[in-house]
């Protein structure tokens, strides 16, 4: 009998963490993530999660605790949002550079100023270059399944993974979620084997100063320098492309649910109008595509699940596109939306020359309805039909500056 419960995204995340049996959890409350840390502390108190729960005075400390814990060879978890994630920024680099397979949920929330507690994806997307893997979920079932996959991915490539999902839209919304069987999760997720860890019997220094050049250690081994170590991090993320795909397909075999590896598609086989995005807005776009299909428009959706590593396979899926509309809840100020930039770059030289319309939507929690997405696509199609092939950025449902 499958165990299906009606739960919020945050409860799905907390249950997934429990199934993965981390030994150390440290988190600091911040809306809309707070419920995860509350639930985990409750599970620890009840004894259903046998972990050390470290109460900390900030997000910077939370991740510092996990870095230390992970360095002793244990599985760890934290969760945060928005300004809390930004407060972790330096430690994000330390965790990735130390190749520690920490898993964190980022419950996406807009970043101040002005102050907002509501959803967009500026928080995690602005942490793009910290060396973390970033996976985006579109519903609560995907959250529980992705957190479990995240541990397997992280521990295979030794790169930390951020599981991102939209604040309130998913974190506080109840949906039916099938809870995976604990024994099957244990089979899917082998015990964590650290690549290197501190133990009193073998004293070592972790992260001493690295020089620009390579140098010999006391044993005569020519050790890698800073640049080689950073390149190894990139190799880890490159390897993650395949590992994410396999983690996903193996999960589908065991649990019967396939959320896609690096990306997922919806009715793209013959589609020439492609809608794309990450997280819940991409799920919303599937409804818009279905409505367009009813009108005879060959619309489809490509949902980007892995923002980093960015999927290399998109041009193949987009090869028949006449128009690409990107919906994103983030902006790279002074340029355009981050997904749009990456997508355009991945299409360069591949022969796909469809105009890419960058639709910035839902910043700071502004509601995005299917009809709004539909309107934006229709507008873009109208421009294309009038012969306008320019790429442009549109701020959806936003008052124009006069």
């Amino acid at each position: 009998m499958s165990d299906v419960r009606i739960i919020t995204g945050n409860e799905a995340a907390a249950l997934a963490v429990t199934l993965c049996e981390p030994q150390v959890v440290a988190a600091y409350p911040i809306t809309p993530q707070t419920k995860i840390s509350e639930l985990l502390s409750e599970y620890v108190e009840r004894g259903t999660l046998k972990a050390e729960y470290v109460r900390v005075e900030s997000e910077h400390s939370a991740l510092s605790v996990l870095i230390a814990a992970s360095t002793t060879g244990v599985r760890t978890f934290t969760a945060t949002s928005s300004n809390g994630l930004l407060y972790m920024h330096e430690q994000l680099h330390w965790a990735a550079g130390s190749r520690l397979p920490i898993v964190m949920c980022c419950v996406n929330r807009g970043v101040a100023a002005p102050w907002s507690i509501f959803n967009d994806q500026q928080d995690s997307m602005s942490q793009r270059d910290t060396g973390w893997i970033q996976l985006y979920c579109r519903n609560n079932q995907e959250i529980i399944d992705t957190v479990i996959q995240a541990y397997r991915i992280a521990e295979e490539v030794y790169v930390p993974v951020m599981v991102c999902y939209d604040g309130f839209i998913l974190s506080h919304t109840m949906m039916p979620v099938e809870i995976p069987d604990a024994a099957e999760v244990r089979r899917y997720l082998p015990p964590y084997k650290p690549h290197t860890f501190l133990e009193p019997e073998r004293p070592r220094t972790i992260n001493p100063v690295f020089f620009p050049w390579r140098r010999q250690n006391a044993d005569g081994v020519l050790c890698d320098g800073y640049m080689e170590m950073r390149r190894k991090l990139q190799k880890g993320l490159e390897k993650a492309r395949d590992v994410i795909a396999v983690a996903s397909s193996d999960y589908a075999e065991r649990f019967g649910r396939d959320h896609g590896g690096l990306f997922w598609t919806h009715r793209v086989e013959d589609a020439d109008i492609i809608l794309t995005g990450m997280g819940s807005i991409a799920a919303e776009a599937t409804l818009a595509a279905d409505l367009l299909r009813n009108e005879g428009v060959r619309a489809g959706v490509v949902g980007i699940r892995s923002y980093r590593p960015f999927p290399p396979g998109l041009p193949a899926v987009l090869r028949n596109a006449r128009l690409i509309v990107v919906f994103e809840k983030c902006f790279s100020y002074g340029y355009e939306g981050g997904v749009t930039s990456d997508l355009k770059a991945s299409l360069y030289g591949t022969g796909v020359d469809a105009p890419v319309i960058d639709v910035i939507a839902g910043l700071g929690g502004r509601d995005v309805k299917t009809a709004d997405l539909l309107g934006a696509v229709r507008e873009a199609m109208k421009s294309l039909e009038s012969g306008d092939r320019a790429c442009r950025t549109v701020w959806l449902n936003c008052r124009e500056e006069e």
Binding site: R99, H195, R204, I206, N207, P208, F210, R215, N217, V221
Partner: protein, 97 residues
């Protein structure tokens, strides 16, 4: 000849030379004049203020006093503290090996 460094994160073990030969950081090196150095002059263990003050622990408590230039960073504290001014800092070619 060199084995491969398969570490994926920055680690080192406590050992002499693990951080590289830090003596090549220096621009000046200390030179001891045994005609002035107290233990050398008296022929018995005495003074050793250079040994005491050296922040790198590269000065020996021996007669004569020696300084391991592979790891001396050339700070000049020994020369500053030496009561009979037996230590002089002299210029050294800069650069790593």
């Amino acid at each position: 000849m060199n084995r491969h460094d398969d570490n994926i994160s920055g680690v080192c073990t406590p050992a002499v030379g693990e951080a590289g030969k830090t003596g090549d950081w220096t621009e000046m090196k200390p030179v001891i004049d045994p005609a002035k150095c107290t233990p050398a002059v008296k022929g018995k263990p005495s003074c050793f203020l250079c040994w005491l003050y050296c922040p790198e622990g590269v000065v020996s408590m021996t007669i004569p006093v020696t300084i391991d230039l592979d790891y001396c960073k050339g700070c000049g504290i020994c020369a500053e503290e030496c009561p009979p001014n037996a230590i002089t800092m002299v210029g050294k070619e800069r650069g790593r090996e």
